[in-house]
Structures are given as C-alpha cells and as structure tokens.
Amino acid sequence: MNPTFLQISDLEFSIGEASILNGISCQVPRGETVGIIGPNGSGKTTLFNCISGFNLPSRGRIIFDATDITAVSPHTRALHGLGRVFQNSGVFRELSVEENMLTALESRDSLIRKFFPARSHRAQRRQLAREFLSEINLDAKSSHKAGSLSGGQLRLLEIVRTLAFGAEVFLLDEPTAGVSPRMKEDVAGLIAKLQQRGKTILVIEHDINFIQKFCQRILVLDGGRVVMDGPPDTVRSDRRLQEIYFGNKTQSES
C-alpha cells in the first residue's frame, strides 16, 4: 500500500515576473493532518490554489491518490476528492443554508437528475442536509440566507458542505480567521471530527498554538519555499521560526 495520498513535487508558480512559489515539495499520507504556517504573502494560499487547480503551476507535478492531476480541471479534481475551504469564505451567501448543503450533495448527480430530481431523492437529500447541519447546530437556520450567518458559522457551514460533498482531502485556508474565540473551539472540534473520519487535512493557520494541538506535522513556508517541515514541537522550538516571523523586527532592533 502506498502511504502517500497527496504528493507535490518541485512546484513553481509565477505571476508575470514575480515568482510566488519556488519549488515546493511535500508528501502527505492518507489521514494525516498537516499545518501550514508562514508570514503573509509567503505563498500559502497560492499553494492551495495550485492544488485545487485554480492556479496552473509553471513547473512541478501534483499527484493525488496515484493520479497525476497537474493539468486536471478544478471541478474534476474536486470530484476526485479534493475539498477546499476558502480564506474569504466560499459559502454562497445568496443561497439559503440548506441550499448550500443541497448543491454540494447534488453535484455528483447526472445532468438529467439535476433537471428532474426524483421525488424520493429530494426528500432524502433534505434529510441528509439536516443531519449534517445538526452536527454544527445550524439545522434551525436551514432556511435562512447563508449571508446572515456569523463568521464562525460560515466556516462551519463550508467545512460541513465540503464533507457532505464527499471530499477526502480538506484544504482549509485560515479556517479561524474572522472567527470569535468561542467559535474557534467549534471549528477545532469539527476538524477533530474530520480526523476521526480518517480525512486528510492541510490547514493554513497563523496561530501555531492553535494548530499544534491537532497537527501531526507543520510545514513552514517563506518566500514560496518550504523552510521547515516536521512535528509541531520541533518546528516550534526551531530558532529559524523566530527569524522568519520576527526577522525584520530583530533587524530594526539591532
């Protein structure tokens, strides 16, 4: 059995003259949770965009579940099991909370079924949506416009929507940004549930204290390169981490 589920090798990406990713490699076994940290602009989101297929790398390969997906369209990657939770929330605010769930549950249906869903199918989907929503205590809000939810609720909804869609890998881009401290715990709880279900998780976060609790491994990005890759304790105690985050400050102080 090949333990590597997601393999990224020598990924490069640039916009015009600016090179954003400069040869990123990493291997993620199935079921692992990897934290990704790094200063603003270090290329974390861009790395996710390359994995999701929204950015096409100029070099390198992405292999997912033994398939080379480097040139595969984004929606096809998603159907293979690559899930994505966006930094600025990917919830459809004009749709109701329930509709956000339904559209994720329905995306694998045939085109004919998308136009003419079987009646029994409809009821079953709504039931399923309710069950998922009750996991995040949003079942009472299912008919509300998703735009009315709080920052934390939006995160929870997007993660659960991705779970309902059937993702195996979760790319979580700053899932606690704009989330109240109390709701942060709910997000952490939901991530733990994903882990229990054996999902593979890559999570971008600024707060190393927050992610070290549930990551087996932390990747540090700087200037589009992986500068550290190891267990949370090792990365935390590494002197270089201070330099990357506070390098400028140290310089100005000296």
Binding site: H75, F92, F165
Partner: protein, 301 residues
C-alpha cells in the same frame, strides 16, 4: 369575467396581450441566464432574430408548415448560443457581455447584408399565419385565436421554466454565479452549467421570434435592434433578476405602461421616443437603486 371578455374582444387589447406573451418569453428566458446565472448575454435579441427569420424564410420561401418552422427556429437559435458559448464562455463577466454584443452586431450585419437570404433592410413580407391540419385553415388569422396559440406556447414554456427555476440545476447555476471557484470546489462544472442556460434561453427566444414572425406577418432587421434588447433587460431588472413571477409581472406592466399616453392624441413621432424615454428612465432608476445588488461582489481566493 365579462370585463375580461370585453377586453379580449377589443382587437387592440388582444394585440397587447399577444405582445405580452412574446415579451414574457423573451424576458423569462433572459431571466434564466441573467437572473439566475448572472451572465449578461447581449446576443439574446439575435437569437430572437434568428428564430423570426428562420420561420419567415421557411414559411415564405419554402412554404413549410408551422411545426417544422417553429422547430428549426428553436434549434438554430440554440445552436447559435452553443457557438457563442464555445467561443466566449472563457471570458469573465464584462468581457463576456462585450463578446456577445459582437455576436449580436454580426447577426444584424448578416440580416442587413445577406440579401439573397434575408432581403436586407427591405425585410420579408407576406409571412402567412400558421395553419395546422387539426384546425380550420384560417383559424389563426383571427387574432383572438392567435392569442390562444401564443398563450399556449407561453404556458408550456413557463411550466418548464418554473420547474427548472427550483431544480438542483438552477441552484448550481446560482451558486456558480455568486462564486465560481466555490462551485468548482464542490464539483460543479460551471462552464457547462452556463452553456446549458444559454442554449435553453436562446432556444426559447428563437421560439418567441417564430411566434413574432407569424403574428406580425412582416419582419425586417429593425425589429431586432439593441433597443429591443434594452427593453428585455428593463423587464428583467424591474421584475427583479431571478424572480420568476416578478419578471412575468414586469413584462405585462411594461408593455401596458405607455398605453395611458394614447389618451393624449400624440403623433407617433412623439409617442415612440416618449415610450423609449420612459423605459430608459425606469431602467436607469432601477439599476441605480440596485447598484450593489445586480452582480455579486468579486471574491478573492
């Protein structure tokens, strides 16, 4: 009921209701692409033209019967939209609108210049009213009966659209309109969803064109100008994009709106521009009031 009877025995009112049927078809199909999908397909009016000319040419030059005429109007308009979609679907909103405007201009140029087929600006006169073997031969020369035909087409199309508007397809179309990458991330093929909406909407516009040609008996390129496109946009924007009943209501309201002006015995040279001014003001006003709502805010990923 007697009021309705009185209305519908008046030739002029029958004429207005037939126009409402045709514009409701045009607006409701535009509502599918623009209201739900937020794609601004300015070639919608060209699909209407293709439908009208297809019926006119087949009925006049080839003496084809109505079912094949309507069928080909629908199919050719659909194929036209498919062509646009294949070429222009990659373009993002504003560029897409400009791209479709170019297609619309192309069709107008063809209508004016391909004289051997379209007779140019002179247009095609003498389009017969449709004759079906199961009705008496002159049935649809009576406008009241023609209204029955137009209303039947409208009801069938609207029932179909009503189903589509609440289907999983429409949900996905709305989702990708709001945030395309978000829809892609849950496996929706956004381009295919949009292409289907163009083809469906265009086919319906083609059918509306066919009805129009049969009704008006004479068509020329001026019936399919950008002014008509503006009128369709006004209906949808006033009716609230995405709202099925709102757009139906707005179609009826806007067709009837200039009617009170008739009381003032204005010459046609004033009446015409005045109607257009009213429509333009309404469009501007509604767009201004909804300036933050018509398109979703672009989201960075």
């Amino acid at each position: 009921m007697s009021f309705l009877q009185a209305l519908l025995t008046n030739e002029y009112y029958i004429h207005l209701v037939i126009l409402i049927c045709i514009y409701a078809l045009l607006a409701q199909s535009f509502n599918l692409t623009f209201g739900l999908g937020k794609s601004f397909n300015l070639a919608h009016i060209a699909s209407y033209a293709i439908g009208a000319y297809t019926t006119a040419i087949l009925a006049v030059d080839q003496s084809r019967s109505p079912l094949p005429c309507m069928f080909w109007s629908l199919v050719l308009s659909g194929v036209f939209a498919l062509t646009i979609a294949i070429i222009a679907i990659r373009l993002s909103e504003d560029y897409f609108a400009i791209g479709t405007l170019a297609f619309s201009a192309l069709i107008t140029a063809l209508l004016v210049n391909w004289k051997s087929l379209t007779r140019g600006v002179l247009g095609i006169p003498g389009i017969p009213r449709p004759e079906f073997s199961f009705f008496e031969s002159q049935t649809f020369y009576d406008n009241f009966n023609f209204l029955g035909l137009a209303a039947t087409v409208l009801i069938v199309v609207e029932l179909l659209l009503l189903g589509i508007f609440s289907s999983p397809y429409a949900r996905a179309l709305r989702a990708q309109a709001e945030f395309e990458q978000g829809a892609l991330a849950i496996g929706h093929n956004a381009r295919v969803l949009r292409t289907i909406s163009f083809v469906l909407a265009s086919a319906i516009a083609g059918l509306a064109g066919s009805l129009f040609a049969y009704y008006i008996n004479y068509i020329d390129p001026s019936s399919f100008s950008l002014t008509e496109m503006v009128f369709i946009i006004t209906i949808v924007v006033l009716g609230r994009p995405g709202s099925f009943w709102g757009v139906n209501g707005a179609a009826a309201f806007l067709v009837l709106l200039p009617e009170p002006l008739r009381q003032f015995d204005l010459p046609p040279s004033i009446l015409g521009p005045m109607r257009q001014l009213i429509y333009a003001l309404i469009l501007f006003g509604v767009v201004f009031l909804n300036r933050n709502k018509l398109w979703p805010r672009l989201r960075r990923i």
